[in-house]
C-alpha cells in the first residue's frame, strides 16, 4: 500500500513542480493584464480646454507573441461638467451604439533583455484602433517597464475625431480641437497561462 502511494505521489510531485516552473516562466514571458488602466484625453482650443479620464480601461499584453489589446468602456469617461459628459455620450460618441473603443496591435521592436533588466523600454506598436465604430490602422510609440512583477505601459498619441466619423457641429467647432491627445497609463499584473485560458 505504502509503495503504491509512493509510486503515485512521486509523479504527482513532479507534475506540480513542472507546472510551477511553467508559471514562473509565464511571469517573465507570458501575459499581463489589467482592468483598471487609466486612459485620458485632452482637447485644447482657443475657447475651451476639455479633459476626461477613465480608470476602467482593460488591457492584455502577451509578451510571448508581442501582441496587445485594449478595451475601453466609453461611458466610464468622467468629465468636469456633467452636461459635457452627457453630450460626449449622446451627441458625439453614440455610446449606446458603440459602447467600447478598442485597440489591437503588435509590438514591433520588443527586447526581452531590456525588460528583464528593469529599465524602461521605448517600443513601437502597430495596430487597429476602433473608436465610434470606425477602425483605423496606426502606429504608436510607448514605453514598457517591469516593476516589482508588474508591467507598466505608457503611451501618448493623437487622433482626429473627424477620422472616426465624429461630427462636430459648426456652433461648437471652435470649442473642440481638431486633434485630441490620448494618454494611456496601465500597470498590468502577470497572468499565469493556466488562468488565462
Amino acid at each position: 500500500m505504502r509503495s503504491l502511494i509512493r509510486s503515485v505521489s512521486l509523479p504527482i510531485c513532479g507534475l506540480l513542480l513542472s507546472l510551477a516552473g511553467g508559471v514562473t516562466t509565464g511571469l517573465a514571458q507570458g501575459k499581463y493584464m489589467t482592468q483598471k488602466g487609466v486612459v485620458s484625453f485632452f482637447s485644447s482650443s482657443i475657447l475651451e480646454d476639455i479633459e476626461a479620464h477613465t480608470e476602467q480601461a482593460a488591457g492584455l499584453i502577451d509578451l510571448q507573441t508581442q501582441q496587445l489589446a485594449f478595451s475601453i468602456p466609453i461611458k466610464s469617461f468622467q468629465f468636469k461638467r456633467t452636461l459635457m459628459q452627457e453630450h460626449f455620450n449622446e451627441n458625439y460618441m453614440d455610446s449606446d451604439r458603440f459602447p467600447k473603443s478598442s485597440f489591437r496591435g503588435k509590438i514591433l521592436d520588443f527586447d526581452p533583455a531590456t525588460l528583464a533588466s528593469g529599465q524602461s523600454q521605448r517600443v513601437t506598436v502597430e495596430g487597429d484602433l476602433t473608436i465610434h465604430g470606425v477602425t483605423k490602422h496606426l502606429t504608436v510609440t510607448g514605453a514598457l517597464q517591469q516593476q516589482s512583477g508588474q508591467l507598466m505601459v505608457n503611451a501618448y498619441f493623437s487622433v482626429a475625431p473627424a477620422d472616426y466619423g465624429i461630427e462636430i457641429p459648426l456652433l461648437v467647432r471652435e470649442n473642440i480641437a481638431k486633434i485630441v491627445g490620448i494618454k494611456v497609463v496601465m500597470s498590468c499584473e502577470a497572468v499565469s497561462q493556466l488562468t488565462a485560458k
Binding site: Q78, K80, R104, L171, A196
Partner: protein, 307 residues
C-alpha cells in the same frame, strides 16, 4: 438544447458543442487577444443608468425627471407672448409678454432645488426635486425613472383686503414624474399631479385639484427634438372654466444652452398656473407662443476635477 429532439440527439449535440469549445477555446484565445480580453474584462452585466431621458429639466411648461448633475446651476428664462388670436392691433400677441426667471441648483446628483419669479400675479415660487428611481439596465434593471417634485408659490400682488393674509396667497404643487426612455430618440413621461390652493373663489371650488399629465419627446436629430405635453384635469376637482393644458414644442440644443420654442394654451409657467388655471382654447387660437432658454453653469466641478 432542443427539447423536441430525441434524447440521444440532444446528447450528441451537447457533446459536439463541448468538444468544439474545448478544442477551439485555446486556439481562439491565442489568435484573438482582444476577444479574450473582452470576455474576461466584461463585468457580469453591471448596472448602468439610462442617461439623458430629456435634454432639459422642463418638458415644455412642466418639469421632466431630469435634474442637472451635482454642482450644476441652471439659469432658466421662460417667456410667453400674448395669444396668437389677439389680432394685428396686439401684433398677434407679441405686444404682451409674461416672463419667469428661474435659478436651479443641484446639491447632489439626486437632489435639486430652485426658485423663480413669474410676472403673472407677481408670483414667487420655490421647489425641490428628488430623483427617487433611475431607469437602468444590467444586473439591477429598472424600467422607469421616477422623480418626486414639490413646489410652493406665493402671490405677491398688492391687496387691501384686511383678511387676505400670506396663507391665502399660497399654493402648493406635488408631482410624481415617471418617465421611460424607450430608445435614444423616444422618451415618454407620466405626471400624476396634485395642486393645493389655499384660497378658492367659492364653496363650489375644490382646494385640491388633481390632474394626470402625459408628455414626451421625439428626437429629430442629435440636437433637436419635438416635444408634447398634456395635462388632463380630473373632472370632479377641476376648477370651473379651466381647460386641460396642451403644449407642443421644439428643442434645440447647443453647447451649454438649450432653447425650447413652443405654443401652449396656458399663460403661466408654473404648475399652479398651467395645471389649475389654463383658460385658453388650444383649437380656437388661444395660443401663447413662447420659449425657454436654459443655460447651465458648473459651479462645483465633478470629483477629480476640483482644484
Amino acid at each position: 438544447m432542443h427539447p423536441t429532439f430525441p434524447l440521444y440527439r440532444g446528447r450528441l449535440a451537447s457533446l459536439l458543442v463541448l468538444l468544439l469549445t474545448a478544442w477551439a477555446g485555446p486556439a481562439w484565445a491565442q489568435d484573438d487577444l482582444l476577444g479574450q480580453l473582452e470576455t474576461q474584462a466584461t463585468p457580469t452585466a453591471a448596472t448602468e443608468v439610462v442617461a439623458a431621458t430629456f435634454k432639459s429639466t422642463r418638458l415644455i411648461n412642466g418639469h421632466t425627471v431630469e435634474t442637472p448633475g451635482q454642482g450644476t446651476m441652471v439659469f432658466l428664462i421662460s417667456h410667453r407672448f400674448g395669444t396668437l388670436n389677439s389680432g394685428a392691433y396686439n401684433f398677434f400677441g407679441l405686444d404682451q409678454a409674461s416672463i419667469r426667471l428661474g435659478l436651479e441648483y443641484a446639491l447632489t446628483d439626486k437632489l435639486e432645488i430652485g426658485i423663480g419669479r413669474s410676472s403673472l400675479e407677481k408670483t414667487l415660487d420655490g421647489f425641490v426635486k428628488y430623483r427617487a428611481l433611475r431607469q437602468s439596465t444590467g444586473r439591477r434593471a429598472m424600467p422607469v425613472s421616477v422623480t418626486l417634485f414639490a413646489s410652493s408659490a406665493l402671490n405677491t400682488l398688492r391687496d387691501d383686503r384686511s383678511w387676505y393674509t400670506t396663507s391665502h396667497r399660497m399654493n402648493y404643487s406635488y408631482q410624481a414624474l415617471i418617465a421611460r426612455k424607450f430608445n435614444p430618440s423616444l422618451s415618454v413621461q407620466l405626471m400624476p399631479t396634485l395642486i393645493h390652493r389655499n384660497l378658492v373663489e367659492d364653496r363650489t371650488q375644490s382646494n385640491d385639484v388633481y390632474a394626470v399629465g402625459i408628455g414626451g419627446r421625439h428626437k429629430l436629430t442629435k440636437r433637436t427634438s419635438l416635444n408634447a405635453e398634456y395635462y388632463y384635469l380630473v373632472p370632479r376637482t377641476a376648477p370651473t372654466g379651466v381647460r386641460n393644458a396642451l403644449a407642443l414644442g421644439f428643442d434645440i440644443e447647443t453647447g451649454g444652452h438649450i432653447f425650447q420654442l413652443h405654443v401652449t394654451n396656458s399663460q403661466g409657467m408654473i404648475e399652479k398656473f398651467f395645471v389649475a388655471n389654463t383658460r385658453g382654447n388650444f383649437f380656437k387660437g388661444d395660443l401663447y407662443f413662447g420659449f425657454n432658454v436654459n443655460r447651465n453653469f458648473t459651479i462645483r466641478p465633478k470629483e477629480g476635477f476640483r482644484k
